[in-house]
């Protein structure tokens, strides 16, 4: 149940999300331009996938300003963006919409909001592990881990003919290639992680809500 509060104050979870988001936005040069939005809708009109979103990019900014990040993080929108940057280059007030959606995606992943239908987090995490292990992307490893973790068995089977064709033409490396400077790369990653804003996640219990989204309840 919503807590009772005086006008103008945000619920504690909302202000916590807001803080996390603003920290992420701080990394984007020009991120503060989000305040200049005139709600013209050019972003939504330019987006090739807005038809599949539940919140349009324009609405994402409106919700953010109205203090409703929770809804944004639970939307399909942040996972459906394909990073084509059409909105970013057309925005008349130069808001970096794609980068803002990245920031929101990072907050959602940090807060363990992981929609079943859009297993972007599974792909991202598999990718990160790949780079750390080999220094380069190892496609078979990446895709297998992704399909297994996202439990998309059907897709794994559907991918099989293509996988076979790629193996036959030598376009899929059977074995991963490790770079020689892997040790150095890991040192860089370790150091960068230590420098990056040290953030302890609040441990909580994973729950699945009515639309099948997993969320953390602290």
């Amino acid at each position: 149940m919503a807590e009772l509060q005086s006008p103008g104050t945000l619920p504690s979870r909302e202000s916590e999300l807001r803080k996390a988001f603003l920290e992420q936005v701080g990394i984007v040069p020009g991120g503060e331009r989000i305040r200049k939005c005139i709600q013209c809708g050019t972003c939504t009109g330019s987006c090739p996938v807005s038809y599949a979103m539940d919140l349009s990019p324009r609405e994402v900014i409106a919700r953010f300003r109205a203090g409703d990040i929770e809804t944004i993080l639970r939307s399909r929108t942040i996972w459906i963006c394909a990073s084509c940057y059409a909105c970013t280059v057309r925005c008349p007030v130069e808001i970096k919409i794609t980068d803002l959606l990245y920031a929101l995606k990072r907050v959602a992943m940090e807060k363990h909001i992981r929609p079943r239908q859009f297993p972007v987090y599974a792909l991202s995490e598999a990718f990160v592990r790949n780079v750390r292990m080999f220094g380069r992307n190892y496609e078979i490893g990446l895709l297998t881990e992704f399909f297994l973790r996202s439990l998309k068995w059907v897709d794994l089977i559907r991918m099989a003919p293509l996988g076979w064709k790629m193996l036959r033409t030598g376009r899929l490396g059977l074995l991963p290639e490790r770079i020689a400077g892997l040790k150095d790369l890991r040192k860089i990653i370790k150091r960068a992680e230590a420098i990056e804003r040290p953030q302890e996640l609040v441990p909580g219990r994973a729950v699945t809500d009515e639309v099948g989204y997993e969320a953390i309840q602290s």
Partner: protein, 302 residues
């Protein structure tokens, strides 16, 4: 003494550090083969960056920003020692490496953090490396006239739909128009090809959505192919590994899913350019495509 120095710098102008990126090592092998072959044929030096690592790609960017910049910057630091421009054919690498350059330039705090991380491996990055796309290098450093002069085959009668994809024209203001780029069109017209009306030049192919939100990406790819077919194109020509993969590799599935023939050859621009320069099928990797390459294309090579 002085003389040789001049020669050295003269050489360097047409020598580049090559950053193939992960896609080009396997999945987009023909793009790698044809890029190397075309540069060689045109007398441009392409030297692979030793021990490069993954650029971080847009997937990495969306999880851990500072770490992804540090990973990306390792490549730039290695390249900086060599003093040449970097050529990155993959659109995602091109975008990420350029984005890293700009962020490190604009944000002194981030720059300090990234250099701190690089120092853990005895590296540092001053920010002097220029990251360029092979298309821009060919057209600006060599020139379309020069390229046409060296062509041994005409592309007369070939109708092509030029598809630039997203990430070489956006989000940075790069070497061509963000809404209606013309570099490929101008180059292939000079080589004899006919450019069909293709208003979807910079429309998104869905990128990684092919894996994470398949239905959405399938529709985007259908639109791209239908538009090319509808305007009478013999093939689509592209500049991006992921665009080519999405539009080419799933043509069987697309045809079944939408109940119509959605097959069309999708060539990397370096392949078609290689054909014009007289290179053969295997050198360019045309024999290892995942979609059927029509006789019309093959007759050009034969």
């Amino acid at each position: 003494m002085k003389q040789s120095k001049v020669e050295e710098s003269g050489d360097r102008r047409m020598d580049y550090t090559y950053y193939p990126g992960c896609s080009l090592t396997h999945a987009s092998k023909p793009y790698d083969l044809s890029t190397r072959a075309v540069f060689k044929r045109l007398g441009l030096g392409l030297h692979e960056l030793e021990d490069w690592n993954c650029c971080g790609a847009t997937v990495y960017m969306s999880v851990k920003e500072t770490v992804s910049f540090a990973i990306s910057a390792r490549n730039l630091a290695l390249a900086e020692r060599l003093g040449r421009d970097v050529v990155a054919p993959c659109s995602a690498c091109y975008l990420v490496l350029n984005k890293t350059n700009r962020f490190l330039h604009d944000l002194p705090d981030l720059n300090a953090k990234v250099n701190d991380a690089l120092a853990a491996a005895g590296l540092s990055y001053k920010g002097t490396v220029r990251v360029r796309h092979p298309l821009e290098v060919l057209v600006n450093d060599l020139g379309i006239e020069q390229i046409a002069k060296q062509a041994t085959r005409r592309l007369d009668g070939l109708k092509i739909a030029e598809y630039y994809g997203c990430q070489i024209v956006r989000p940075e203001r790069g070497f061509d128009d963000q809404e209606f780029p013309q570099t490929l069109d101008t180059m292939f017209a000079a080589l004899g090809a006919e450019n069909v009306y293709y208003p979807m030049k910079v429309r998104c192919c869905g990128g990684m959505l092919m894996t994470t939100a398949n239905e959405v990406a399938m529709k985007l790819c259908r639109d791209l192919i239908e538009c090319a077919q509808g305007n009478g194109a013999d093939c689509i020509v592209t500049t991006c590994p992921l665009c080519q993969m999405n539009v080419a590799a799933y043509q069987d599935r697309l045809s079944t899913r939408f109940g119509k023939d959605l097959h069309i050859p999708v060539l990397w621009f370096t392949e078609l350019l290689g054909i014009a320069l007289g290179l053969d099928e295997k050198t360019l990797g045309l024999n290892i495509h995942l979609e059927p390459i029509t006789d019309k294309i093959m007759s050009l090579v034969g």
